[in-house]
């Protein structure tokens, strides 16, 4: 069972109250981008066994979107943060690095 604390309302939300939104912090390429970049933006996703940064919506609650960092293997949650932030905040990176030495955030995925 996955429990995420919604940073918008503070409720501890069960997975069944949440709507998954896939990988977070994708680079939205514009209409002038080459086909390869557009294809990558639309279709190419990492599917890690381990640390994953995702978008979730508190659908059966306050209705807001937010970000969450978790491990897909253990379901350990490293933290949640508002949707308006464009990269994982330092405390969340530190929490991940403490459990996964060598993990580093890659900008501009």
């Amino acid at each position: 069972m996955l429990l995420l604390t919604c940073p918008c309302c503070g409720a501890e939300a069960d997975e069944t109250e949440l709507q998954p939104g896939g990988a977070a912090h994708l680079t939205r390429v514009g209409p002038g981008a080459p086909d390869e970049a557009f294809e990558s933006y639309l279709f190419h996703r990492e599917n890690p066994r381990g640390v994953h940064i995702e978008r979730w919506r508190h659908a059966h609650g306050c209705g807001k979107w937010f970000h969450a960092a978790r491990c897909t293997r253990t379901l350990e949650v490293f933290g949640t943060y508002p949707a308006q932030i464009t990269a994982p905040p330092q405390p969340i990176r530190d929490a991940i690095a403490a459990k996964h030495p060598g993990w580093a955030w890659k900008e501009g995925k």
Partner: protein, 192 residues
Amino acid sequence: MSDPVSALNGAAYDGVVRVEELGLRGMITLRGDHASVAVKNAATGVAGVDFPDALACDTVGERGLAWMSPDELLVLVPYAEADRAVAAMQAELAGTHSLVVNVSDARAMFRISGPAAREVLAKLCPVDLSPGAFGPGDFRRTRAAQVPVAFWMQADDAFALICFRSVAGYVFDLLKTAARPGGEIGYFPAGA
């Protein structure tokens, strides 16, 4: 004009708890910036209660304010006053970015009361309902089995629950099933 009737016309069930549909209740959605003085004044002026904290609600009788999201409140008033309350809030919020809608007829409200009330809701909703985690005045939007609901604790052994009118029959059936005699679990301390 036709006589309004509530979704289940006051249906009730006595099991390990009492489940009642509460009939017609005034419910108004108010969306706006909670930090705005105009929004605060409009809501508290009509409801006559204090502005609620996050995940909380403040009710006195049929009046109250419930914290629905960082930019949404549920304003509770007697059914007959809802249209007047909407007009009063819209007048007060003229010029303020906001939305006020009478949703009374789109919703149903239930009361679940009895020492096992926590247990009955805990069977249906993925919410920590232990006495240390949820108490009187706490408010939570969640789901009951397959549909969205919201509930708050009125007293130590009573909850009010709202759902969409279209699923009132489904929610009543769920509550009745969870409250059927023989299904007691006794997980929470009695009377807590």
